[in-house]
């Protein structure tokens, strides 16, 4: 029985009668091509979603981060050799970050980063056959928000599904926290979050708030935020 949009699907289900634009259908995580024409095979459990005109994906649980090109991630420097650093971004292998991929870096003047430091970087390439590569500049060689993060901050790991919820434009959580506390936050698509505020007490409170919200449903979080606003 073919699944339709909005259904709960499990691996092995087939989606037929796809909407395509000029013969092209875009598929996101959890969907793969099927032997039959105009069909897709589901490979993850979750809700089947569709965005007009031709995008399909499965919204389900994801635990381990899998690098994707263009993702903004928070990583921890774990090795340093010559001009290249190895950064732990929570995926199956360490990503490499060249020391020259920082704004204004030259062979003589390199950023001062040590093992254990935290960086906010963008994934330049993420092929499954190759080591993923990070950069801390955009295509104009400007740092923007990217680069080393202050060691005064605090790094915590949250659920990947919660990252997507936090980054949702409609999610009022960070906005509400911003009314009470003055803080900086860097949310990586890999589930690592860096928080910094004026004092340790505030940082810890923010951490507890995020951990508490992680366990709650979206509706509950929105309701609590509305009451506080």
């Amino acid at each position: 029985m073919p699944a339709t949009v909005g259904d709960f699907v499990v691996p092995g289900d087939v989606i037929a009668d796809l909407n395509s634009l000029n013969g092209v259908t875009l598929t996101g995580p959890g969907l793969h091509s099927h032997e039959e024409h105009n069909c897709l095979l589901v490979t993850r459990a979750g809700t089947l979603c569709f965005k007009s005109p031709n995008i399909y994906w499965v919204e389900g649980l994801q635990k381990r981060y899998y690098p994707k090109k263009g993702d903004l991630v928070v990583g921890i420097v774990t090795k340093k050799a010559g001009n290249i650093m190895k950064v732990d971004i929570g995926s199956s292998e360490l990503a490499c970050l060249p020391l020259l991929a920082f704004e204004g870096a030259t062979k003589k003047q390199k950023p001062d980063l040590q093992v254990g430091d935290v960086v906010y970087a963008r994934l330049l390439s993420a092929h499954r056959e190759m080591e993923s590569e990070l950069v801390c500049v955009d295509s104009y060689y400007k740092a923007g928000k990217l680069g080393p993060l202050s060691s005064d901050g605090f790094v915590m790991t949250i659920n990947l599904n919660f990252v997507n919820r936090l980054l949702d434009f409609n999610c009022p959580l960070l906005h509400t926290l911003g009314k009470k506390y003055v803080f900086e936050v860097a949310i990586g698509m890999n589930g690592k979050v860096w928080i910094n505020s004026h004092n340790v007490n505030d940082t810890l409170n923010l951490m507890i708030a995020l951990l508490a919200a992680e366990q709650e449903s979206i509706d509950n979080v929105t309701k609590v935020c509305r009451q506080l606003m």
Binding site: G30, L61, K63
Partner: protein, 219 residues
């Protein structure tokens, strides 16, 4: 043959709890009657250079008995589960990495292989690793009088003339694995196959309802 009517042909009660461990990417505690296992899945994670495969993920399974180190029998379970995992996973999506499945036996009161396979599939589903299809396993025993008992407990399967374990996929209910012991004829084998196939439908439904609840709460 009706699976529901006959008392011999009833499955023991299946129960599960997802995400019981914090460190693995997917974990489940699954009980079938008094047989209980915990399964944990890590993956895709870093792999040792000797075990690295350049075209697909290497799948490693570990079966831990209640106490002591794994023996020869446990190694057999390990290899059965490993073969099943390798067939059901889309391992080509994760080259140069490994997927580790750990099964911890908690209580063994018969049908441990079936229970372990089902727990393993559940844990993989929970971890969000891509799979080609789901697998479900059911076992049955044939006693001296030629009567079939679905999902036998330890007493029944020890006394039985023959024991069968089958694993099916959820697309066309094809056989993924078949493990038998004892003496039986072809007709009895086929009858056992049909019996287990029917029982597996209930397990697929169970997977679906449990995962649906889990995802509704988390996403």
């Amino acid at each position: 043959m009706n699976v529901i009517d006959d008392n011999n042909l009833l499955m023991r009660k299946v129960n599960c709890k997802l995400d019981i461990l914090s460190r693995p990417d997917g974990s489940v505690l699954l009980s079938q009657g008094d047989t209980v296992v915990i399964a944990g899945v890590y993956g895709p994670i870093e792999v040792k250079t000797q075990k690295m495969l350049i075209n697909k993920a290497s799948v490693e399974t570990f079966y831990r008995p209640k106490s002591g180190t794994p023996g020869i029998g446990d190694r057999l379970y390990e290899s059965i589960i490993q073969n099943i995992c390798e067939t059901s996973l889309v391992s080509a999506l994760y080259p140069r990495s490994s997927i580790v499945v750990i099964i911890q036996e908690m209580q063994n009161y018969g049908g441990i292989i079936s229970c372990a396979v089902n727990a393993c599939c559940f844990a993989l589903l929970n971890s969000g690793i891509d799979m080609k299809f789901l697998v479900a396993s059911a076992s049955c025993a044939l006693d001296d009088k030629g009567v079939f008992h679905l999902d036998p407990d330890k007493l029944l399967s020890d006394k039985a003339k023959a024991n069968f374990v089958f694993v099916f996929d959820n697309i066309a209910k094809r056989i993924i694995a078949s493990h038998t012991s004892g003496s039986f004829n072809l007709a009895q084998y086929e009858e056992a196959l049909e019996l287990c196939k029917k029982a597996c439908d209930a397990i697929f439904d169970f997977y679906k309802t449990k995962m649906k609840n889990e995802i509704a709460n988390k996403v």
